[in-house]
């Protein structure tokens, strides 16, 4: 073999390919027990939201006035409420509202926030200064209180909830994305793009965005936890969907008075359901954050 046959730099130095890298992230995640626990809980609730009839034992709307306020038993695992409806089935069916509204609201907030963050971080200067002040003003608004006002004005509906929560989350996400963009912006590939006359939108969305996806993913999962909480809170306050639809927050508020009468099961299981989703989402987002940002 002559020297000329040897490539200048052979494949020896090549590292694992990109699919391998993605698999590596997944492998890292799966290695974390907390991620597994969180995912299993979320998967369970997603199945409940999609196919509640598979798990629920009874019709959640079926009243049985002869059988009201029954404690948990083999027939009614979580007992019955003041109208004699099966609490277990109501908890299972209740997953749908939250698991539809919260992720959509978070998605909306993430998309808006990422776009805003990219613009602020990339353009900087006066655009950034002005937008940043608006963002800060928005940050001062408490999510639940502001939502209450908007929902009072527009009337409660799933769409209103999604839009309000999404818009209120956007500035929070924008701030994180902006910080990540500022770092990326100083890298030379951005200068190289300017030198070949790329327009700002191309640089922001094609050059920079793929490189800030890690913080965006982390923000999404973190915000999802908050969104679930916000939806549950608004429902509790009566600003979500209206009865008789089963909804964890709503149930807790409706049945709250029954606790004083000793019928604790009418509140406890809904509360536990809310807690389990929020905790599960946080377990997942913690793991994602650790793995992506290590």
């Amino acid at each position: 073999m002559s020297i000329a046959d040897i490539p200048v730099e052979s494949a020896g130095a090549l590292r694992a390919d990109r699919r391998e890298a993605r698999r590596e992230v997944l492998r890292e995640l799966v290695r974390r027990p907390l991620f597994i626990v969180g995912s299993l809980i979320i998967v369970f609730w997603i199945i409940c939201a999609l196919f509640p009839s598979l798990i629920a034992t009874q019709d959640p709307y079926a009243q049985n006035l002869l059988n009201i306020n029954q404690p948990p038993s083999s027939a009614h695992r979580f007992g019955t409420d003041s109208l004699g409806r099966d609490m277990f089935s109501r908890v299972i069916y209740g997953a749908r509202d939250i698991l539809v509204i919260a992720p959509l609201a978070t998605l909306l907030g993430t998309v808006l926030g990422t776009a805003l963050g990219l613009v602020m971080g990339y353009l900087r200067g006066i655009t950034d200064d002005v937008t940043s002040r608006f963002v800060e003003a928005f940050l001062a608004l408490p999510v639940v209180v502001t939502s209450l006002i908007v929902i009072t004005a527009l009337g409660p509906s799933s769409l209103t909830l999604i839009v309000v929560i999404g818009v209120l989350f956007a500035p929070l996400i924008a701030r994180t994305v902006r910080a990540a963009v500022l770092q990326e912006r100083s890298l030379e590939y951005v200068a190289a793009a300017r030198l070949r006359d790329e327009r700002a939108p191309y640089i922001m969305f094609v050059e920079i965005l793929p490189n800030v996806m890690a913080p965006v993913m982390v923000e999404f999962t973190v915000r999802l936890g908050y969104a679930i909480f916000a939806v549950a809170t608004l429902s509790y306050l009566g600003f979500g969907l209206q009865p008789p639809s089963p909804n964890w927050g709503l149930e807790v508020s409706q049945n709250f008075v029954q606790v004083t009468a000793g019928f604790w099961w009418e509140v406890l299981f809904d509360a536990l359901a809310i807690a389990s989703v929020v905790i599960a989402v946080n377990l997942v987002s913690d793991s994602v954050e650790r793995v992506l940002e290590q």
């Binding site: 730099e9 052979s10 590292r15 590939y189 300017r194 070949r196 006359d197 793929p210």
Partner: protein, 694 residues
Amino acid sequence: MSTAAAPAPPAGEPGAPGDALSVQNVDVAYTVRGKRRGVLHDVSFRVARGESYGLVGESGCGKSTMALAVVRYLARNGSVTKGGITVDGRDVLAMSGAELRKLRANTVAMVYQEPGRALNPSIRVGRQVAERFEVSGMARAQAVDRSLEMLQKVRIADPASVMNRYPHQLSGGMLQRVVIAIALAAQPSLLILDEPTTALDATVEAEVLDLIVALREELSTSLLFISHNLGVVSRMCDRVGVLYAGELVEEGPAQAVFHDPRHPYTVGLLRCIPRRDTLKARRALDTIPGSLPEPGASPAGCIFADRCGLAEHRCRVEAPPLYTAGSHHRSRCHLHERAQLLPRATPAEAASTAERTGSDGTLIRATSVSKTFRVAGQAIHGLTDVSFELRSGETLGLVGESGSGKTTLARVLLGLTAPDPGAQITLAGAALPESADKRTRDQRKAVQIVFQNPDSALNRRHSVRRLISRSLSRLGGYRGQALLERLSTLIKEVRLSDRHLDMRPVQLSGGLKQRVAIARAFAGDPQVVVCDEPTSALDVSVQAAILNLLTDLQRREQVSYVFISHDLGVVRYLADRIAVLYLGRLMEVGSAERVFSGPHHPYTEALLSAVPTLDQADRERIRLEGEIPSAAHPPSGCVFHTRCPRRLGPICDEIEPPLAEREPGHTIRCHIPIEELSSLQLGPQDAGVAPARG
């Protein structure tokens, strides 16, 4: 100011009792995802008392792993799987935790590459030095006194005030002195230096190396000196071991290894380095073909056989033992007697480069370019009144220490940084707008850049195909089939292959990444390519290949380069003309030959003298005292007067000398008449070299 001391005589026979360090047949492996990967294989060497031993090799050869193994400080997944290590006659591998701590506290000290990371940023420097004494049971007050003494010993001018400062308030060179002071505090019998000056500027590096030489004599400490820089090692070490892919392939006295190498790898490595007599016009640099084998690979024969132009059948089937190749000189090569007959991997013929076709017209003319940055209300003078011209087809080397404004000047040329008002830059006679956004497409594609760090310059989410095609379509205006064809010829020109196209930067080695960046710069048929330290992050063998590629492309495309580098060897090899920057001012501009051979500006003189090279005869070294002044408050008069070894007197402090043409095509900013510079500089040194001109 100190002259380098002659190295201590070579240490005694290997095996002499009482070695400071003895490494016998050591294997080190890292366990990665359940698989064990060997990184060092059967490495043996000794460092005698008072001796300075150098380990050289390219990145990934296992140098740092060796250093860590000596103090049992390997990462958790690494372990010494075979062999023995003794320090001061004591078996390191058998030590308990407490003994190990004692060893690290009293017997062995280490200094790493990044001094800033070796110190705690939130504790005052004095406390951190004193702590080192308190560890060995000294009282607080006494420890402070000893710290002062120690800082004085490492030539820190005002130790009392330095002790009160935080690490971030000190320059890199000062920090490295502090780290050395801490390392030497316990009077260790072995000092391990892992690339101690790699992060420092050449002039600072020279000072730190002087200091190490002086302290070593004073304290009779043994050194294990690890570096990729053969020049530094040849200056610092009595004996040298060459590591390749985890094996010690050659060992011997520094003089013998560097001037009479007996292993083809060493031979190849030495040929990759641009020497004083190699110029691009005369010959291409040689390279080492192929790349390092994967860690853990254990071929039946010689580990270097795949990249060796001499390899015979025997080399591939029979692993060579360490042959004796001279007195104390050993080589792990069956053909050690013929090692220097290694055929060139790259043809030498490059002579036609010199013949530039076309006119020698001025391509870029920059007039009074200044750039003032405003940081926290303070004016930082990045560039002050820089004027120069770049001719078509030439390479202008831009040299200077960090902070001298090299990169700022490059960014101004590219239109990425707007100069202060009053600057004027023309390209082929037409005014070049300040901002890249305002330039026409032709102007933009005419001036392109190869950045220093390809990791930052290439979007890590884009494939090679996308990275290059995008430039071809935006700058070259190629579409469809034409684009595909041009892409395919362009990647061939930079010696990439089709299979690289679908890879992302992370999958490529440093050299390949830089080739992608070069392809991108050439996508729009540029007239000027700014190369901002394009090889400083690469190993010498890869650097040689990239420099050859740049030369080749220049000859073919008739492009001009502005070549920025702190490595004067590289600049000397590549540049036709050289501009020397100091504190944002041009100190000297002239043809490469004149700037290097002198008479030159005292600053250029100091820069040249600071670089440890392999072929440097022992000549008087000029050292710069002190730090580079802050660009916020540049010194009055000649900005260099605070450090100038040839300062005349008050005139230098008060009046800024003009950048005047002292010889045809050679301008110098200095009050000293050229005849005097000439006699000062050609006097004691280079005695054998005939004066270039009268």
